[in-house]
């Protein structure tokens, strides 16, 4: 067997195997951990092995002798039936209706529409897929590793009688396989199946804790994603109707761009992507999903599953270059970027900040996709990669923090440095990597801005949004360091697996940032063909094009130097006399206490600004939903 085929099979099937092992043998902690670790290791190794082999196409006609298409047909129906079952179980009419609709459409598609033998070249792996595979396999596995101690703690904390961890890891691993499948297959029906699978996994994991609120939010995620699923299948039908093909690469034939139905198909697929990426007005499922254990949020709701949305958009982008649809996707994305950032400013719940920030960044990726120039596509892909890594790390840190201080509120993390210095520092560096040059996220944002400068709507929204972004991140970083003990370093205890997850992610994302030029040259530039021509040149340690330049390496060197100097200076500061902060001369000697009226000691405290009156959820949500809805209508309507 071809090594590429083998790796593909491993990447998709190994997690499934691991998952099944988990549920069968996983009641013991050691075995469970071993299975998870082993699966993760296999995934990481195979993903890395896959790297030099791309791009390739493979045909996949049968699996274990059975016609693959048949398997998928059956699996698809089964999956929809499961969803239908959950709909009935929870008496959720929307879910039932949507699942039934999808079932009907699937049967219509498979049974009536698709005629004749299908082409079997179903696997397509280019650099974009590879990037996704790497993210899923490496970041995903790391997250699963951290989930081991996390879930142990979690169940301990909630006094769970019978451990439900086997089920948890079953779903987690299942999900990894599904994701790999989604990005490796080119056949729309296959993609649809995996798409639905991630929906189901997400539903199961959000509802994992079985509290009322968890169940409710899980159902919300389910029905919303079912809307996406329905749009997906409708899109497939329309696309097939128009092009007579189910292969994604096949249907992207630019000469069809003038056709209304064709654009509608793409718009519907985009709609599915928007739902998956929780763009406005579908953001509420992602926020609700934050009730899930934090590794779930890290895995599904920030670094992998939601990325499916932008992945699909990136795939579809060549199909709609130069159309109004493209423009509207750009505006829609920029709007999401702005709205997500604004809403994040109003949040004090750390995970919600992360969630909104995710939505916001995905919005930026959509905006870049919509701009649909070489530069913007590069920006989109870079952002996709960097965001996945850094966000995963931030989520994991918040998970660790949350378990330690039993709160996920930013206000409660005030002075965290005094309690868990290392985690606090890692979180702060995560924040820095999100907003500061020369790190990758900002690099891609810079590219995005320069690419967007031509489009006034987009650039204005992006400019406002990025300023808002700075606010909520800087605020958080500062809060973590706001330490009344003035910087005494205490040792901190965390499970080894937590360090094993946080450390590599932190160092990895820094290195990845430094390696951004090579990332670009190796992974992205090869894809810049067709409508896109390679845009940036690697010059003087930076990326440069006709109208802009970003000196990554020199800046990295200078930044490192600066860091060293500051660290040396820090040593001096550690020796300096430490005094109480300014409290109008009333400090009493205890940290942040002052002597107030009636000779009492009062704690001076300053809370962060969340600007609820301007950016509060209650105030903005309706408006942004309205805005998102209008734009969405425009997209769908404009396609026609």
């Amino acid at each position: 067997m071809d090594i590429r085929a083998m790796l593909t099979v491993i990447l998709v099937m190994a997690p499934f195997g691991g998952a099944i092992l988990c549920i069968v043998l996983g009641s013991s902690k050691a075995i469970r951990s071993a299975i998870v670790l082993a699966t993760g290791a296999v995934l990481i190794v195979s993903a890395l092995m896959l790297a030099p082999l791309v791009p390739f196409r493979l045909s996949a006609a049968t699996f274990l002798g059975v016609d693959l298409h048949r398997i998928i047909q059956v699996a698809d129906v089964a999956l929809l039936l499961i969803i239908l079952y959950y709909g009935f179980k929870h008496r959720q009419l929307t879910v039932i209706v949507l699942a039934a609709l999808q079932l009907g459409l699937t049967i219509y598609l498979e049974g009536f529409l698709v005629k004749g033998p299908l082409p079997v070249e179903r696997i397509f792996c280019d650099h974009l897929s590879l990037m996704m595979v790497l993210i899923i396999s490496i970041v995903g596995s790391i997250i699963c590793f951290q989930a081991i101690p996390y879930m142990e703690n979690h169940e301990h904390h909630y006094h769970v009688m019978r451990s439900r961890q086997p089920r948890f890891f079953f779903v987690m691993l299942l999900f990894l396989g599904g994701m790999n499948g989604l990005v490796l297959f080119d056949d729309l029906v296959f993609m649809y199946f995996f798409f639905e699978m991630t929906t189901l996994c997400s539903f199961l994991l959000i509802g994992h804790d079985r509290t009322t609120i968890a169940t409710r939010n899980a159902l919300r995620a389910l029905w919303m994603n079912s809307v996406g699923g329905a749009a997906f299948i409708l899109g497939i039908i329309a696309a097939y109707h128009e092009t007579g093909s189910l292969g994604l690469q096949k249907i992207l034939t630019p000469w069809l761009a003038g056709s209304g139905v064709y654009l509608l198909a793409l718009a519907l697929l985009c709609l599915a992507a928007f739902v998956k990426a929780a763009q406005f007005p579908f953001q509420s499922w992602l926020l609700g999903a934050m009730v899930a254990p934090t590794p779930v949020s890290a895995l599904l709701h920030s670094s992998t599953m939601v990325k499916v949305g932008v992945y699909m958009a990136l795939r579809l982008a060549p199909g709609f270059t130069g159309t109004l649809l493209s423009q509207s996707v750009a505006v829609f994305g920029a709007f999401s970027f702005l709205a997500g950032a604004a809403l994040a400013v109003g949040q004090s719940n750390g995970k919600k900040v992360l969630a909104y920030s995710t939505i916001s960044n995905l919005g930026l990726i959509f905006a870049c996709t919509g701009l649909n120039t070489a530069e913007s596509m590069i920006a989109a892909m870079l952002l996709l990669a960097f965001h996945a890594v850094v966000k995963a790390m931030l989520f994991l840190s918040v998970g660790a923090i949350e378990q330690h201080i039993e709160s996920r509120d930013i206000e409660d993390m005030r002075g965290l440095y005094a309690v868990m210095p290392l985690t606090a520092l890692i979180t702060v560096s995560g924040v820095i990597m999100m907003i500061m040059p020369p790190f990758g996220v900002l690099l891609s944002k810079w590219m995005a801005m320069e690419a967007a400068a031509q489009n006034l709507y987009v650039i204005v929204m992006v400019a406002l949004g990025s300023a808002l972004t700075v606010i909520y991140w800087a605020r958080w970083a500062g809060t973590l360091m706001s330490d009344p003990f003035a910087g005494r370093f205490r040792p901190e205890h965390q499970p080894a697996l937590t360090w094993l997850a946080l450390g590599p992610l932190c160092i990895g994302s820094a290195l990845l940032s430094v390696g951004a030029p090579w990332l670009y040259l190796r992974m992205i530039a090869p894809m810049m063909m067709g409508p896109y021509s390679p845009a940036y040149a690697f010059k003087a340690g930076g990326l440069e094009n006709a109208y802009g330049t970003f000196a990554i390496l020199p800046l990295s060197v200078v930044a490192t130097l600066g860091l060293v100097v500051a660290a040396v200076a820090l040593k001096r500061a550690f020796r300096a006399k430490i005094v109480s902060p300014y409290l109008s001369g009333l400090q009493t000697g205890e940290p942040s206490m002052f002597r107030g009226p009636m000779n009492q000691s009062v704690k001076a405290e300053a809370k962060n600004y969340y600007l609820d009156t301007i950016f509060g959820e209650a105030r903005l949500t309706d408006w942004v939903n309205l805005g998102g809805g209008i734009l969405l209508t425009l997209i769908l309507g404009g396609a026609l």
């Binding site: 005094v579 109480s580 300014y582 109008s584 001369g585 009333l586 400090q587 002597r595």
Partner: protein, 154 residues
Amino acid sequence: MQGIKRFINQLRAKSPWLLHFDCGSCNGCDIEILACLTPVYDVERFGIIHVGNPFHADLLLTSGTVNHRNKKVLANLYSQMPSPKIVVAIGACGLSGGIFREAYNVVGGIDKVIPVDVYVPGCPPKPEAIIDGVVLGLGKLQAPQERNGERKEA
């Protein structure tokens, strides 16, 4: 090295930033201190800025009597000033408690709480006198080793 030190000490006297703390004064002294900052006296000519924050100040100008409540504040502020620092007590009250010496809530002059380098008598002292006092204090800032406070702290 010596030259640099001397140079820096000279600059110290050229850029005295002052913190004014009204330590239970009747305002007479306060407004005269404020008047020093205003156009007619304009102590910014000497580089003096009223910083209003002990962390930034070189010179602590205090007026008024120390009482039991504000003595803690006074000590706190003094401790938050980075050395070298100079304390100038303004007015009869700041020097000794002035006319209120015998009142029950009066501890006495500033030097009951923190070391004072310059005493500016008057009730209130004229702005000119305050400027004189500050200048006298600047002399001490230039030669910090001779300072009263330093001796105490060492």
